[in-house]
Structures are given as structure tokens and as C-alpha cells.
Symmetry: C2
Subunit: 266 residues, 2 copies
């Protein structure tokens, strides 16, 4: 890495296209953050990405009064693919939800699908707040994409509509399923020819119930679907956010992108 | 499960031995919690465990003015073994440390070893505070044991003293190691005959660096040890608590107790 790239401690998600030498307008909050929180000056190197054009080394070319611009320099990483599974989750209490979202992004979630369940504690989801957290986590963990946060839907409606063609691994805390790692390794070994046509990770959805668990009705209706496999997450009772983090981890380890090495670092 | 066991929503860790019909004195904080937070009355069924005698159904026999007693009834679960790996971690900021501790207990950690590292943000560890969190998490996740929290030590002192005979899986964020899942499956396949004499999970320690990573000196000295194996945790930068949670999850999935089903639940 060049000295400038090493010095670029800030990494920003931007909406504009990025090409060599282009000028990128920052959002007022980003400018405020760089100027008043990080106390950076024009001339400071930063990294930028937009989910489409890879990662670039840029330089702050203007920064004052909530107005900021970056001049893009050289490309540091190409975009490549960054496919991850969908996480289907019931909203939980604020601090635990924040944690779930941050960790899911770090663990390479492809899409976040909030669902309203019968035992859930809330059906309110502030998507704008989650969106800001998802961007912050993506900037921090060196992802090149920002996962989508879908509109909340009722779990059973989502299932009845074919779950958007996903294969569901639903974390069934009654213990009816086989251990998640075994199920995933079997999927990998089977490959084509089963309900799962291929091991394309974006076709999978990990479904986590609320703190109160799925209702009997929900469990019965999910279990009936040919595209749903119950899985267990060990012998202990996991909180909802722990179950989500653990399921994503095992997914990435067994059939996801954890076979890839980290990008070069010092 | 009996109706009383199903009704027993509270689960308490106690220090006294538990036998059928015995009276168990509660700590003043426990009594206060049951009386004033949960608003329970004498006669209410509760579950108790002490890390040695399994889990018992009991009944509150006295509860007033911070004085409480439980009368033990029938045993619900035998003690059995609950072995888990050691987690070696550098203290991080309060909220993130709380989360790490709670999740580690849910994921079956055997022992928590705080270490002072060269890039760590703090060398202060409030063991009494961590102890209370560990107990609360163990009560909630239905463990039968409460993991030990060891005295903090300097990482390099701990390593120089043979790391208490553990095999170290150190999460090396420079990416020098193979993926953790692969390393664990190889250990399992090799069994005896290697540096690892057996797959006794308590012989393993997962070592997680601080937010700033291990220092060059620390990395070099850990890598030299024949009892240390570097492992990687995928292509993204994980926060320290995410790395700890993810490493423990993969450990339990690959060679730990996740092949066991959950205890029977409704």
C-alpha cells in the first residue's frame, strides 16, 4: 500500500460514480463529521467507495461549512462480487438491534429483511436509522457494498409469497432441526439436484425468530414449505441477536466467503 | 416438563449445595430482585443451579426485606459436562465488552482470560462487574455452569509461561492464518499424534487482539510458539467483540458442543 493509502484512516460511502480525477460531493453530515469530529483539513487522503466502482484513494479538496468535496485519485480495489445471504429477523430492543445490524454487516450479510412475527415485541422499524448504521458498519469493516434493508413484511406473508425464491434455513429453537453446520455442509456436498439448485449464497435466507420465539402457527406453516430447512444452534438458549450473529458466522464459515483471505493489511 | 417447571420463569445461580428438600439462602440482591423487580411471592416456582448439582425446581419459601429462601424440590437436569474453550481477550470499551461477555457465555465459553496487550485501550478490568454479567448470562441461557473469569495478565507473560498448556488459535488479522473452520476441522481429523494430543475442548484457547490489533512484537512472539496456530476470520475487518463471538461460534460448530440438541422446550 502507498503511504497515502496507509494514512487514509477515513473510509466513506458515497453515492456518485467514481472515476480517476472526478470530484465527489459529500453529504452535509459527512462534511460535518470530517471537519468537526475528525478535524481533518483539505489535502487529507481518504478512501471512498459507492458499491459499484470499487474502492478509491481520494483527497479532501474542499471542506468548510458542511460542504465538502473529495477528488478521486487511484483505484485501490476493484469491485468484484460480495454476495451474502439474506438475514430475516424480527425487530428487537434498540441496543440489541443496533448490535445485530452492525455485526450482520461485518459478517457479510447480503440483505436485511425485517419481519413482523406473532410474538415479536414491536412491528416498528426505523429504516432510515438502520440505513445509517449499515453504512457506518460497511465503511468500518472495509466492505465494498452496503447491504439493502428491505421493507418490513409479516413473516407469514413473506413465506406464503415464496420467500422471494430463497431457501430458508430457519433457526428453530424447539430443537427440531439438525445442527446448522451439518445442514450447510450437506447442502454444499449435494450441490445441484436437490430443492437447492445451486450453492449461490444469495439464494439462502437465515430466519431468526423474536425473543419470544416463533408462534406454533408460524412454525407449522414454515415447516410445511419445501424450501425451508429447520436448523439448531447448539444446546443453549441464544438471545435473538446472538442467534443471528452465530447463524451468519457458521454460514460464512461453511459455505460463504470465509475461505477468502482478508485484503492486504499491515 | 411439569406445569410447575414450565411456570418457573426465573432461573437463579446459587452457591449452596442443592439436594432434595434443602433450604437455599438467597443473596440480598437476588431477594430484592425477586421481590421488587419481578414482584414474586412465596410459593412461586423457580429453577436453581450451582454449577455442581445440576438444575432443580424449587419454590420460594421466604421473601421479604432482602431476605429470601428457596426450598429445593425435584432435580430437572443432571450436571453432566459442560466443557468449553478459553477465550483470551483484551478489554475493550464498556458497552462492547458487556456484549462480548454475554455472548461468550451464551456460546459456551469455558473460561474468560483478560489480557493486557501493547495496543489495548485499557488495562483495567472490573472483575466483580464481569462476574455479575457472567452469572446473569448463564442464568438466562440455561447453562449449568458459570465460566471462570481469570485475573488479567500481560499477553506476552501468559504466552511465555506456556499459556497454561492451551493450544492457541490466535485470530491474526494480518491474514497469515488459514480460515478458522478449516484449521479446526483438520485438528478434529488429526486427533492424537500432533501438537494437539486430543480434541479436549478445554485445551484450546481462542486469542483475540484489541481494536488496534496485536503489536508486531506480540505477533512475532506468539507465532514462534509451537502451541499456537494463526487463523483468519474471513475477508472483512471485524471489531474485537465480533471476532470473539465469531471465533467461539465456529469453534462450537466445528469441534464443540453444537452437535448436541437443545434441552427439551415447548
Amino acid at each position: 500500500m502507498t503511504a497515502d493509502a496507509t494514512r487514509a484512516r477515513q473510509r466513506l460511502f458515497v453515492h456518485d460514480p467514481i472515476t480517476a480525477g472526478c470530484e465527489i460531493e459529500l453529504a452535509p453530515e459527512q462534511s460535518h463529521y470530517l471537519e468537526h469530529v475528525m478535524r481533518l483539513k483539505p489535502g487529507t487522503p481518504v478512501k471512498v467507495f459507492n458499491g459499484r466502482d470499487g474502492e478509491w484513494l481520494g483527497t479532501i479538496s474542499e471542506l468548510r461549512k458542511k460542504k465538502g468535496r473529495i477528488t478521486a485519485g487511484t483505484q485501490l480495489r476493484e469491485q468484484g462480487t460480495e454476495a451474502g445471504p439474506t438475514l430475516v429477523f424480527a425487530p428487537i430492543k434498540k441496543q440489541r438491534l443496533d448490535f445485530l445490524i452492525e455485526k450482520a454487516v461485518e459478517l457479510g450479510v447480503g440483505k436485511l429483511q425485517p419481519v413482523i412475527t406473532q410474538h415479536g415485541i414491536t412491528d416498528k422499524v426505523r429504516r432510515d436509522r438502520l440505513q445509517a448504521q449499515v453504512i457506518e458498519a460497511a465503511e468500518q469493516c472495509e466492505r465494498l457494498t452496503v447491504p439493502e434493508i428491505a421493507e418490513p413484511v409479516r413473516l407469514l406473508d413473506w413465506v406464503a409469497n415464496g420467500a422471494e425464491d430463497h431457501h430458508l434455513l430457519f433457526c428453530d429453537e424447539t430443537g427440531s432441526g439438525s445442527p446448522i453446520g451439518e445442514v450447510l455442509s450437506q447442502l454444499l456436498a449435494k450441490g445441484a439436484g436437490s430443492v437447492i439448485d445451486n450453492i449461490n449464497v444469495v439464494n439462502h435466507a437465515l430466519v431468526i425468530g423474536p425473543e419470544g420465539g416463533f408462534s406454533a402457527d408460524e412454525l407449522e406453516r414454515i415447516r410445511k414449505q419445501p424450501f425451508a430447512t429447520p436448523v439448531s444452534l447448539g444446546p443453549r438458549i441464544l438471545r435473538a441477536e446472538t442467534a443471528a450473529i452465530a447463524a451468519l458466522t457458521v454460514f460464512q464459515d461453511r459455505i460463504g466467503d470465509w475461505s477468502h483471505r482478508p485484503v492486504a493489511r499491515d
